[in-house]
Amino acid sequence: MTARLAALVATAFVLGGAPPSGAATTPSDLEAELVCPTCETTLDQSDAPVARRMKQIIRERLAAGATEAEIKAELVDQFGDRVLAEPPKSGFDLLAWVVPLGLAGAGAIGVAALAWSWRRQRSAEPPLPLDSVVERRIDAELDRFDG
């Protein structure tokens, strides 16, 4: 029971604020994913006249049964890609997704290469010889400890 509850909590955490699949898209969902073309903030943060009109269109289109993708496509047709809060995952805009991931990957490989190189260098170095006085003192201490 506890394991099941933990799995449920973990799933909810992973999904975050996203609506569960199959749930109807609400105007608020779309308003957070679309940008006002005049003030360049998301619609839910904007009260500009064109943003108010876009919100009205979103409500009307949702009520008429349009899907989230259809509404986004209609707004992109009117205003261009700049109304999307996230860049599209195609064409030139794909770079916005690929470049940060590529840089993170290259950074991770670089750190791993450095760590490997340091480790190899350290294992190749011979250990420094102990001072004879210190060595005798350590032996004496070990004997006392064992005895």
Binding site: T38, V50, D77, Q78, F79, G110
Partner: protein, 189 residues
């Protein structure tokens, strides 16, 4: 091995700094942020940036180059803009009054819905050509600050007079508007 890795890291860092420096130089030297409005503000003689956009008043597309040889009043507007409603009848009157002298009022609808813009055209009985710049590419090159905004283009395609920020019929803008029309028509020596 450590030495070579370090050298590669340094080379990458150096390349990154050089790329950023190059970007800065390009931005300062070549970027035309502010569009023609900024150039006009610096006192430069500027040719009107070309555009070809879909028409809203009828089917087809219209290019600014098609109007070469005519004086053009380029008015950027949007249907949700209250001052644009106030100035629309004045722009229509201007078109009717000066059309025979070779002047065209050209409306450029910006940041708007096509259906709202068409309703606006019907509501104010606008008969001058109107094009749609929904994606804002033309407005960007013209250095638009907002709507309404109006520019004057003479028969050779150069921008003349001062851009008008706000409605053309306001007390503040009336004189500049009349002067812009006269300059575009070549009526001012």
């Amino acid at each position: 091995m450590t030495g070579s890795v370090q050298r590669v890291g340094q080379a990458i860092a150096l390349a990154g700094v050089a790329a950023l420096l190059g970007l800065l130089v390009w931005k300062v030297a070549f970027d035309r942020e502010g569009g023609v409005a900024a150039d006009l503000g610096r006192g430069k003689l500027v040719n009107a940036p070309a555009f070809t956009l879909d028409r809203l008043d009828r089917e087809g597309r219209l290019s600014l180059a098609d109007l070469r040889g005519k004086a053009v009043v380029v008015n950027f507007w949007a249907s949700w803009c209250i001052p644009c409603r106030d100035e629309a009848p004045v722009l229509q009157q201007t078109y009717e009054r000066y059309r025979d002298q070779g002047l065209v009022v050209l409306g450029v609808d910006f940041n708007d819905f096509r259906q709202d813009a068409r309703r606006f055209i019907d509501r104010f009985d606008l008969t001058y050509p109107v094009v749609f710049d929904g994606k804002g590419s033309t407005a960007g090159r013209w250095g638009l600050r907002g709507v309404p905004e109006t520019f004057f283009v003479d028969r050779s395609g150069a921008i003349v007079g001062e851009p008008i920020y706000g409605p053309v019929d306001s007390t503040r803008n009336r004189v500049a508007y009349e002067r812009g029309i006269a300059l575009a028509l070549g009526a001012v020596p």
